[in-house]
């Protein structure tokens, strides 16, 4: 063992440091619930839109995306709809996409609602709660602001007003 001892010792100690560091790091910094957080990449999804076509988040790479999780029965979601529509109209020409993801209601319900409120940004149906699970949505509405590279710049839980929305989108569009 004589000569080989030192390298063996160093290798073993290195192993312990790496594995131990990983163990400690993953418990301290790891997110326990598996939800995306600020700065993490936005998980992809493929959902049926009200327009009848399939939308995936990937196809909007290169654009700033505002993802809004909502439902017709959620009062705050309903009351922030006009603000979202207004901002959509304002920013749609500057590579900003707004996606309204309805959480688990059927086409008819959503269709009537959309017509009634008069929104025309893409509304997607998450009938199996796929995106809701991936994004770990608890309260509604929850809005994710995703930059052009696909990373989440900020997450807002609760109702958004016009100025806040404007500010957040402004940040996304800035180079």
């Amino acid at each position: 063992m004589g000569k080989a001892r030192r390298p063996v010792q160093i290798v073993i100690l290195l192993f312990i440091i790496v594995l131990g560091g990983y163990a400690i790091g993953s418990t301290v910094f790891g997110d326990h619930k598996g939800r995306p957080t600020q700065g993490s990449t936005s998980p992809d999804f493929k959902l049926l839109g009200m327009d009848g076509s399939v939308h995936s988040l990937k196809e909007y790479r290169g654009k700033a995306v505002v993802i809004n999780f909502w439902a017709t029965w959620c009062t705050y979601c309903v009351s922030e709809m006009p603000a979202l529509q207004a901002q959509w109209e304002k920013w749609r020409d500057q590579d900003v996409v707004m996606l309204g993801i309805n959480t688990g209601e059927d086409r008819l319900t959503v269709d009537r609602f959309v017509k009634q409120v008069g929104v025309d940004f893409p509304i997607l149906l998450d009938s199996q709660n796929e995106a809701v699970q991936k994004y770990g949505i608890v309260p509604m509405p929850t809005t994710f602001f995703v930059d052009k590279k696909g990373s989440i710049v900020s997450i807002h839980e609760g109702e958004l007003d016009l100025t806040m929305l404007d500010e957040q989108i402004g940040k996304l569009v800035e180079p």
Binding site: A23, I24, V28, T109, L125, Q128, N129
Partner: protein, 556 residues
């Protein structure tokens, strides 16, 4: 520090050696001492024992110390106790921990939370302790097992007298008629007792169950595998742990997989009264006997990723999931977790009738979700213009839905047909009788003009109502690292059994002229060894009481 590590027998020992590696003579003690020897690791130097340690040696030495290991164990133990004082955050999901502890336990609870003890087992210091224990397991074992292996595999038959008489089991006395045949006879006697014997003319080494010495190291290897498996469980993709609701009769997609699960029925059964003890009967307590979800697992084979198409499903597994009996499909496991027996409306099949005569035009199926847009009943066309799953009126008096669950469903139709205005008449329909009364269906319809048509929607019998009787809350689990966890634990158990239920026994014997000197050592169970040695000596014609074999050193 320079030590002379050369033994009088001529063997050059490594630094840290206590007993000469060749003849076993104690290197540092006075020759007069008869105190039992420290036989740990057979007196050889541990790997780490060096004359001038540098930085890396120091770290190595720290973790190679059993004393440090014991301290680590004790600190971990005490740390673990702290985590049991109040419940841990991980044991409940619904509360906000920052207020929960203060509310429930007052200031102590608040301090507990602020110290981070509410998640003791996920805290950096606890994990660090576990990592240090892991490091100690590796280094302690490596540091001892190789030298010990070497020492045991090149044992000399003839040991120094000092070594023999300072064992804990010793016999030294002149023996009559020590003829030449004595040693071979001793060999036969010892072999009968299961010893492997090596001997020369006047010395002998008998040994058995040496493998039990490796027990502790096998335990440590098992523990390391276990800890590594637990560590790697957390790697992405190796683990899923989710809970979902599965309504009875529905095929529900399991998110982030291409699997679908159909709950074909959930059963909860209670023990009949006569099977309960009297006290329970008196207090009216019920005891559940069975929770069971009849589950069918489907795999999607085509159109899985396209939400615009219906996925093509293929049944892959069928299992009655019970507590203690999960569904297992190639490591994808589904556990019974909870249930909800609140019935939910799936669909109703109302009939369109004339309000005054009761004449029916026929019925149509109206499902709560994904309802059709139009229905043709007799000569009439019903267009569903809106629906509310959990009907209510908001402050402005407008109809809204309070949730997506069909607690109080309401359907707003436009009925067109003979004798009705071109644009049709509006008619609201509450399938549940209780809602009809609560929200005054007739009053609303009157306002909408729906009563003018003289038509009404009504469910004629219970067979026209379809309920989701219950929902089962199932836990979806994938844990790809589990086999390694079990392998690790299996190895631990193997080591424990080897190390604790077998004992490494050695008997050294030498004849110095007419004097027999015997020393014996065991890793455990001195009592048994003494008995065995006494029996052996008896075989050889030496009568000695078990108790007198014991060497207690100078204290006797």
């Amino acid at each position: 520090m320079i030590q002379n590590t050369k033994c009088e027998c001529g063997h050059q020992n490594r630094v840290g050696t206590v007993l000469c590696e060749a003849c076993g003579k104690p290197l540092y003690d006075s020759d007069q001492s008869t105190e039992p020897l420290e036989m740990r690791y057979d007196g050889v130097a541990r790997r780490s024992q060096k004359s001038n340690p540098n930085f890396i040696d120091r770290i190595w030495n720290f973790f190679s110390s059993v004393k440090v290991a014991v301290y680590l164990i004790i600190i971990t133990l005490v740390g673990a106790i702290f985590g049991t004082v109040f419940e841990q955050e991980s044991n409940f999901v619904y509360f906000d921990p920052s207020t929960f502890y203060k509310q429930k336990y007052g200031t102590i609870g608040d301090i507990y939370y602020k110290l981070g003890l509410s998640h003791t087992y996920e805290s950096w210091w606890f994990v660090t302790l576990l990592v240090m224990i892991g490091a100690s397991l590796v280094i302690c074992s490596l540091d001892r097992v190789l030298p010990l292996y070497k020492a045991l595999s090149r044992q000399k038959i003839r040991k120094h007298r000092q070594f023999l008489i300072r064992q804990r089991v010793v016999y030294e006395a002149p023996v009559e008629n020590l003829t030449e045949g004595w040693i071979p006879r001793a060999v036969i006697s010892l072999k009968k007792k299961g010893y492997r014997v090596k001997h020369d003319e006047d010395a002998l080494l008998a040994e058995k169950q040496r493998f039990s010495r490796w027990g502790p190291y096998i335990i440590h290897i098992g523990l390391i595998i276990f800890l590594l498996a637990v560590l790697f469980r957390g790697l992405p993709g190796l683990q899923i742990d989710k809970h979902y609701w599965f309504p009875e009769g529905e095929v529900t997609k399991i998110p982030e997989s291409n699997l679908y699960l159909k709950n074909e029925g959930f059963t909860v059964e209670y023990y009949p009264e006569e099977e309960l003890p009297e006290k329970f009967r008196e207090s009216g307590r019920v005891v559940p006997k069975l929770f069971e979800t009849k589950a069918v697992l489907y795999q999607c084979t085509a159109d899985c990723d396209d939400p615009s198409k219906e996925p093509v499903l293929e049944e892959v597994k069928r299992h009655d999931i019970r507590v203690n009996d999960p569904l297992n499909y190639n490591g994808f496991k589904v556990y019974q977790f909870d249930f909800d027996l609140t019935p939910k409306l799936r669909s109703v099949t109302p009939s369109l009738v004339r309000a005054d005569t009761g004449e029916s035009y026929g019925k149509f199926k109206l499902s709560m979700t994904n309802s059709e847009e139009t229905y043709q009943v007799g000569p009439y066309t019903l267009e569903l213009s809106n629906k509310y799953m959990d009907f209510d009126l908001n402050e402005e008096g407008k109809p809204v839905s309070k949730s997506k669950d069909p607690n109080a469903p309401a359907f707003l139709f436009v009925i067109k047909g003979p004798d009705l205005p071109e644009a049709g008449v509006q008619y609201i329909y509450f399938p549940k009788q209780i809602d009809k009364e609560r929200f005054q269906q007739d009053a609303i319809n009157k306002r909408l003009g729906g009563l003018d048509s003289g038509l009404a929607l009504d469910v004629l019998g219970m067979e026209d109502v379809d309920f989701i009787a219950s929902s089962s809350y199932l836990n979806i689990r994938v844990d790809r690292a589990m086999p390694f966890v079990w392998i690790g634990l299996g190895i631990v158990m193997l080591g424990l059994v080897l190390g604790f239920y077998w004992h490494h026994r050695r008997i050294w014997l030498r004849l110095d002229g007419q004097t027999l000197i015997l020393g014996a050592h065991t890793s455990k169970d001195w009592f048994g060894l003494r008995r065995e040695v006494a029996r052996f000596l008896q075989d050889m014609g030496v009568d000695v009481d078990e108790k007198h074999l014991e060497n207690r050193g100078n204290q006797v």
